[in-house]
Symmetry: C3
Amino acid sequence: MFLKNAWYVACTPDEIAEGPLGRQICGEKIVFYRGEGGRVAAVEDFCPHRGAPLSLGTVREGKLVCGYHGLTMGCDGATLAMPGQRVDSFPRIKSFAVEERYGFIWVWPGHRELADPGLIHHLEWAEDPAWAYGGGRFHIQCDYRLMIDNLMDLTHETYVHANSIGQKEIDEAAPTTTIEGEQVVTSRHMENVMPPPFWQMALRANGLADDKPVDRWQICRFSPPSHVMIEVGVAHAGYGGYDAPDDVKASSIVVDFITPETGTSHWYFWGMARRFKPDDQAITDSIREGQGKIFSEDLEMLERQQANLLAYPDRRLLGLNIDAGGVRARGILSRLLKAEQAAAESGRAAIGA
Amino acid sequence: MFLKNAWYVACTPDEIAEGPLGRQICGEKIVFYRGEGGRVAAVEDFCPHRGAPLSLGTVREGKLVCGYHGLTMGCDGATLAMPGQRVDSFPRIKSFAVEERYGFIWVWPGHRELADPGLIHHLEWAEDPAWAYGGGRFHIQCDYRLMIDNLMDLTHETYVHANSIGQKEIDEAAPTTTIEGEQVVTSRHMENVMPPPFWQMALRANGLADDKPVDRWQICRFSPPSHVMIEVGVAHAGYGGYDAPDDVKASSIVVDFITPETGTSHWYFWGMARRFKPDDQAITDSIREGQGKIFSEDLEMLERQQANLLAYPDRRLLGLNIDAGGVRARGILSRLLKAEQAAAESGRAAIGA
Amino acid sequence: MFLKNAWYVACTPDEIAEGPLGRQICGEKIVFYRGEGGRVAAVEDFCPHRGAPLSLGTVREGKLVCGYHGLTMGCDGATLAMPGQRVDSFPRIKSFAVEERYGFIWVWPGHRELADPGLIHHLEWAEDPAWAYGGGRFHIQCDYRLMIDNLMDLTHETYVHANSIGQKEIDEAAPTTTIEGEQVVTSRHMENVMPPPFWQMALRANGLADDKPVDRWQICRFSPPSHVMIEVGVAHAGYGGYDAPDDVKASSIVVDFITPETGTSHWYFWGMARRFKPDDQAITDSIREGQGKIFSEDLEMLERQQANLLAYPDRRLLGLNIDAGGVRARGILSRLLKAEQAAAESGRAAIGA
């Protein structure tokens, strides 16, 4: 259902600024916190003493202390101390590989021996001062793959987001889907169309006319386990669209990290990275607010779609050409899942599990 | 549990005035909407493309358009169009027979080939300008048959509705239950009693004294699948009660359409049809408000009764003489259900299912 | 899971002052009410007529009348009357032994033949005018035994109640656990410590200095099925602690009656009995308010602990020396449960079941 040996976005730094955070990821109940030296740590959210959630505890001098009876947990899952107790024989709980990078906390919910920080999805824009980023987080009651489908087929914008980014021409421009290694790329180009409201705002923010025809593009890139980066933008018509010079276009990257919670729920980290006016916080806030409204329009649809699929488990859905991005992404996930399961069966000893 | 080849009230016209309505009826998830020429249509609430609920969509030029990716659904369950797609091979979804009559939308949740509009329960008063009607709708978490029991045994008025229509004399007047074809009729007559508050109001509205003894009647008629029409009224005592001349009585018909949603929930359409001052909207509103309050007193009782029955599934309940109406109604339902199941097993081919 | 042949606190008199009370206890749905002569009665919350909850009914002239159709139930579970019906053959529902004593209503959810009022937990303070009592009630979504554990290991005060009764010295004073018959006693004594905020208030209320070191004690007594009485107090340091003369100490009894509802929920009746200023209602109210706040701090911890244990059903928890009270209490409960089950199997006839 979901890959466990992979890096997912677990949370953002602000979520662990005040204390530990309990969050279920890929079926694992995990507590995230800042340990010694401010370094992020993650262990099971289960105190080995009496099963209390460690996320109800506190961090004292860089150590996680259970809020029920004061057991002090180490970042490797071994109990460090407990008032009046010898703790050598206490059972160890799981610990998880975590990394802080690009403004996110990443977790590897599978075997920590396999967790190579070099495998964390690379985000060029996150380290380049020419870019700015703003985003948010939703909890959604549906299979994370329904969100991948949603993002790999932006046809839905015409219907779900009719008042912001949707426009009839999206329907009319057939998308192209290609596979590049383990990435799936679905592209759509619309020529000589009027910019919808969201892009009018972006054009204005960019100092460009918002009432002229534009060439518009959407290039969705899926990477396992569940990241979807979408290059989006408009350029005044006739200058080359995606390849137009910077001074006639507004472009950005829609950033989507989709983190499974259970088989039918996930955490959705959404945002937008832009390459213009990176220091203008008002623009960041305005885009985030607009994007938050737009993405919230998907919530009811996705959750009710999930409910319908649970009610009719035997129905096979269609995979049309507009669905190719999601279908291909699911194909890659299935293949990787099989490989992970095969490795788990044949190689538990080898990875020290 | 419920008959599927029968006409039920699905909704009222105001519920589909602004757009499609999703409602589960007899276990079927259905979307109701006004199609071409304003004619009511009903299909499964499940888009064959990706399983989205069609009820989140819109009606455009008399056609139902999915709110996710724009699939256009026909009122027969066949996809009509989808932007950029050939739809010939799209799987067909179920469609349902629907009729608009008497101010209600009626649905036949079973095989539409069997749906004969002539079988819709006839409501004389609905087509007679001498009558007025007002009503409302509740969603209730109990088996629809508990509501039939409730309405076929008005003894409960003494207890549940002690402050409005209940009075001790109801208990003391034994009811009579007869069967007329597939109808069950339970009648109760009380002679020379004081009118309870609701009837005092009705007498006043009728220009009659509200402080004199009356003869009171309640004639409950159950018709399959789950309609209960109750002739109720009071006449100044000694003029013949039910048969008294119009100028000494206030009478009306309590209208109850009980539409199963699941095995333990239903939609309850209640109302009152009256034959006096039909054009006086203030009286209609006042009665509706009073009736809404009274009927809401049944909700907690019915839902908690259902919870008790689920907690004690093995207990056999009593069927006393006051329960005869409900018991007989359930007997008729059981017989019709068996016939429907037998027909389904032996005759699927014959009905084209 | 829980003993059924035992006395539990069911409710307090104020809860049945206005009418019947429905409450599930040890899996039994029970209605409590004041019957003839004001004597408390308890029968199943299930009307034999149509399964309505009798707790939605009323008490008329000392008899419980169903709120649906007026059946009158006797306190022995036999129907007494119903309007227009002969009730001789009506099925009998269960009745339960109940007693009113010490300001509580006690129920014996098992076989009423075995219910000996002499077995009700004796509360000396409840009958002594030198004492005052105030308390409250919580509904908690966890196994009642997690609450016993909680109360038999007050180490948690340091963490859960850090701002009221917790203090670091609790951790440092090792508890002693002994068994006295079917009672488990866990004691902890702290010498020459500063009183935490709650005890400062109690010292002041007692006319004593609140800024001097004290000797503090906690003596937890578990008695089956699930009562925990905790002698708690502080005395100015050096006067003998628990044995110090009254004029240098503030002491009281924390009263905990823990009544299982289902396997994973319970009713928690908490309170405090004190031996000073028994007539000062303002002190009673102030203590109750403080205690209510403190005990509510346990709720989230207990409910989330329960959720964790349900999510990880195979994990064995630790039983450290601080857990000895709870471990021993569970041991006694297990032994008594086995005895109850053995008696049920071998002796149903003997007890008339």
